[in-house]
């Protein structure tokens, strides 16, 4: 006997889900956008950026970690949740050094795209302007720690897919930061390579391929013309490139 299709209700709309799916999985399958930065469908849910916070049966939960369960009543696209998302985005902007005009990822950056989506017109809070490094040591990649938002996608990709463990987080609280797995702390002293999954998952401009910076003119990039709600995540477009990157 075919089991009855299970559904959750998202902003009043009934959508189906498969057992094992999270609310995020089910929403994306139904082409409903829930803002997110640390979520990536190929990795174990992380739940750190908190942008996908939704209200499930009256409780706040992160959609990317919360398993979908039959009958859940979920609020996503509400004024309050979107205002909080705007504030969270502003927090990420003031925490790091995000100077969009000077960043090669501009137009393809998910942080920027989410900020556009939530209507962020100013960073509102006081900027922290932390001193952070730039690591240009690797022949093919540059790491700009100024833009890291601690989503740990590179940590997960390098550990779980590439099996290289090139990235980790050290420090705590506001001093938490990305580190590289070599005694020098430099990327050149690791076996990081073009074609690593970790090279394609960064949602912001923290891990960048050298010499490809301006292949697409500004103004013609992914989020220049259309909202992330419509065109989706930038890393997933890049994911296809791994096929060609590998030998």
């Amino acid at each position: 006997m075919q089991p009855e299709e299970q559904t959750i209700t998202l902003d009043g709309q009934k959508i189906p889900f498969q057992p094992g799916q999270t609310i995020m999985d089910a929403a994306l399958a139904a082409k409903i956008y829930i803002p997110h930065l640390c979520y990536h469908p190929e990795f174990k849910p992380h739940g750190s950026c908190r942008l996908c916070t939704v209200m499930v049966n009256g409780r706040y939960e992160s959609a990317c970690t919360m398993p979908a369960a039959a009958g859940q009543e979920i609020l996503n696209n509400t004024k309050e949740l979107n205002e909080n998302r705007r504030a969270l985005t502003q927090m990420l902007f003031v925490e790091g050094n995000h100077i969009c005009p000077g960043c090669p990822k501009t137009g393809n950056c998910q942080l920027q795209a989410v900020a556009y989506y939530v209507g962020m017109l100013s960073s509102h809070y006081q900027h922290f302007y932390p001193y952070r490094d730039l690591d240009p040591s690797h022949p093919d990649y540059v790491i700009d720690f100024n833009r890291c938002i601690l989503c740990e996608l590179c940590v997960r990709a390098s550990r779980d897919v590439d099996k290289k463990n090139i990235f980790a987080i050290s420090g705590r609280g506001i001093k938490a930061h990305l580190i590289i797995n070599s005694p020098s702390g430099k990327l050149e002293d690791t076996d990081f390579a073009v074609g690593d999954k970790a090279a394609f998952v960064c949602p912001v401009g923290a891990i960048l391929r050298k010499r490809t910076r301006y292949t697409t003119p500004i103004g013609e990039r992914l989020y220049d013309q259309q909202s992330i709600r419509i065109v989706g995540d930038s890393q997933q477009l890049h994911a296809g490139a791994t096929k060609y990157g590998r030998k």
């Binding site: 739940g47 750190s48 050290s170 506001i174 938490a176 580190i179």
Partner: protein, 597 residues
């Protein structure tokens, strides 16, 4: 301290890893060993750990970098931390700390040039009933006075080993002021285990169920339900964990239980182990209670000799259970069970996602019961006396008694055991508090009660608490309290999720802005909004409660903020403009009129 050569470091790490059987789960314990030997964890030690344990180097560095008691540069031969809880703050800690800094000519956080001493701050070390207090090389010194600091400075200058310091310096009082069933008659060692074996595990669990016992850490989950969940989860191994990471500012009841009722706690853990079918238990002891480590190890050793731990407990051929002590390393977040388990596995103490819950997938992904020290102690008593007596005490939803750690503005700070349902007013009367302005219940993460609320009751259905009660009289400036807590959460946020990592710092900056007389009504609006975001969007309980003190005081004590606001200005710069010119003035030597703002 002179630089230690690489070979020595490698040999040291080899010995340490060997003594821990190369178990990566023991990484935090092994890092402690390095730190105790070398005063810090050198880069070379990180490399050696990575090589020997076959772990990524960055993983080891990430773990070492998480805990505030681990250092990557040398500390003084005498490493001192002043407890920076608000209670001790009000007891004169800042003045005493300045006094010692000047006396020893040390800069805060930096080792003196001769490597003799470092002086730093740390979060509450669980001594607010006998503060101000400090840690010296991990050992607790209480009731600090200027005279005591004079003596300490002398001992340091003469390089007197800690073992030759006056023993009375290290005495920690129990200060038990009010006893009830838990702290009353002592229990004969092993009795709870014997009675349980006679009664049977099912019947014992039924008694715990009947007692209505709920977790005493504050969350209040039904103990019997938790144990039954764990027991009923199919698995080849299960674990019992006692959460003694008593980090909530102002609480110290677990310290007293571990100091004077340790057998009762271990007995409760053993009863739990038998019921759920666990063979290994852990006591997660906060690093601040380092001084309890040896005494607790001695109690464990005694119990092994008595046949109450180890193989074949009380001659029972299929009953083996033992307990290891895991020493924390300065991370409040590890008091949350989902972070505690990570830490126990030798990782950074970042709270896991749930589901799954620890009862089905906890330590090493096996079903695990994590309970508070007090819960296990009570469970041992219930195992002996049955659940009825316990259930007869307290209120409808909160049975039995609760230990309160009382400190602050009262005549008799200390430990009070009251049946649930006691009112805040009764508590204040019992401890001799007068002219009370506010009571902070459950620590920095808890609730701030105003005088209007003193008839509320300590119970899960009203004011739920892990047991911290901090009292502030009308002479106190509550913004000092708020400020202390705001700094505390910046220090203790694990940094995993955006709202807590960034929001705690934003709140701290705004509190400072108001405190220094630069705040505006807009700043208060921002504080409210950020508080709301922390509460609704944070990953774990720490973040969800880290703004309670601000939200509570904004609502209940608005005058505390308002009297400091700039009434005329609707806007003030986020930072001090003139100070922002100081660096340029220094570099250029300019002191003309235009060089100031």
């Amino acid at each position: 301290m002179s630089t230690i050569d690489m070979t020595t470091i490698h040999t040291t790490v080899q010995e340490i890893t060997h003594s821990y059987a190369y178990q990566a789960t023991e990484l935090v314990q092994m890092l402690w060993q390095v730190q105790e030997k070398l005063s810090y964890i050198p880069t070379a030690a990180i490399d050696s750990f990575a090589e020997i344990l076959k772990l990524p180097r960055a993983y080891v560095a990430g773990v070492a970098g998480f805990y505030s008691f681990f250092h990557d540069s040398p500390r003084g031969q005498y490493d001192i931390y002043f407890s920076d809880n608000i209670i001790e703050h009000l007891q004169g800690k800042p003045q005493l700390m300045d006094y010692l800094l000047q006396k020893l000519k040390v800069e805060i956080g930096k080792p003196r040039a001769d490597g003799r001493v470092t002086i730093d701050n740390t979060a509450c070390i669980g001594m607010s009933d006998q503060g101000p207090a400090m840690l010296v090389n991990g050992y607790t010194v209480t009731q600090l006075t200027q005279a005591k600091l004079d003596k300490i400075a002398e001992l340091i200058e003469t390089q007197t080993p800690l073992s030759h310091w006056p023993t009375e310096f290290f005495q920690v009082q129990d200060n038990i002021q009010h006893k009830h069933i838990l702290l009353g008659e002592p229990l004969e060692e092993g009795l709870a285990i014997r009675v349980m074996l006679a009664r049977g595990t099912d019947a014992t669990l039924a008694e715990i169920e009947k007692s209505g016992l709920r977790g005493c850490g504050g969350a209040g989950f039904k103990t019997a339900t938790k144990w039954a969940f764990c027991r009923n989860t199919h698995a080849d191994e299960r674990y019992v964990v006692c959460n003694a990471d008593e980090g909530e500012p102002g609480t110290f009841k677990d310290r007293v239980l571990l100091q004077s009722y340790a057998d009762l706690v271990f007995e409760g853990m053993t009863v739990c182990a038998r019921i759920i079918g666990a063979h290994q238990g852990f006591l997660y002891l906060r690093g601040e209670y380092r001084y309890l480590l040896q005494p607790l190890e001695a109690v464990l050793a005694k119990r092994r000799e008595q046949g109450l731990l180890g193989e074949q407990i009380l001659g029972n051929p299929n009953f083996s259970f033992d307990i290891k002590i895991h020493l924390g390393a300065g991370a409040y977040v590890c008091g949350a069970e989902l972070a505690l388990i990570e830490s126990l596995e030798g990782k950074r103490g970042v709270p896991r996602n749930r589901p799954p819950f620890p009862v089905t997938q906890g330590y090493l992904n096996k079903p695990t019961v994590v309970n508070n020290v007090e819960t296990f102690a009570l469970a041992a008593r219930i195992a002996v006396y049955g659940g009825d007596g316990f259930a007869a005490l307290g209120t409808k939803q909160s049975k039995g008694t609760k230990l309160l750690s009382i400190s602050g503005d009262c005549l008799r700070p200390g430990i009070y055991e009251f049946p649930f349902g006691v009112s805040v007013r009764e508590v204040l009367e019992a401890c001799g508090a007068q002219d009370t302005q506010a009571v902070q219940i459950s620590g920095a993460a808890g609730t701030c009660l105003s005088a209007k609320e003193f008839d509320r009751k300590i119970a899960f259905e009203d004011v739920a608490t892990g047991g911290s009660v901090m009292i502030f009289n009308r002479q106190r400036d509550l913004l000092e309290v708020v400020r202390n807590f705001a700094h505390f959460f910046v220090h203790e946020s694990c940094g995993f999720c955006t709202p807590c990592r960034v929001g705690t710092s934003l709140l701290k900056n705004l509190v400072e802005k108001v405190y220094t007389g630069h705040g505006t009504a807009d700043d208060l609006k921002d504080m409210s909004h950020i508080s709301q975001i922390l509460k609704t969007a944070s990953h774990c309980g720490l973040g969800q409660t880290a703004s309670n003190h601000i939200a509570d005081t904004l609502k209940k004590f608005p005058e505390v903020y308002r009297k400091r606001l700039l009434v005329e200005a609707d806007f003030e710069p986020a930072f001090d403009l003139d100070s922002a010119l100081e660096e340029a003035r220094q570099i250029t030597g300019r002191r003309d009129e235009l060089a100031y703002l």
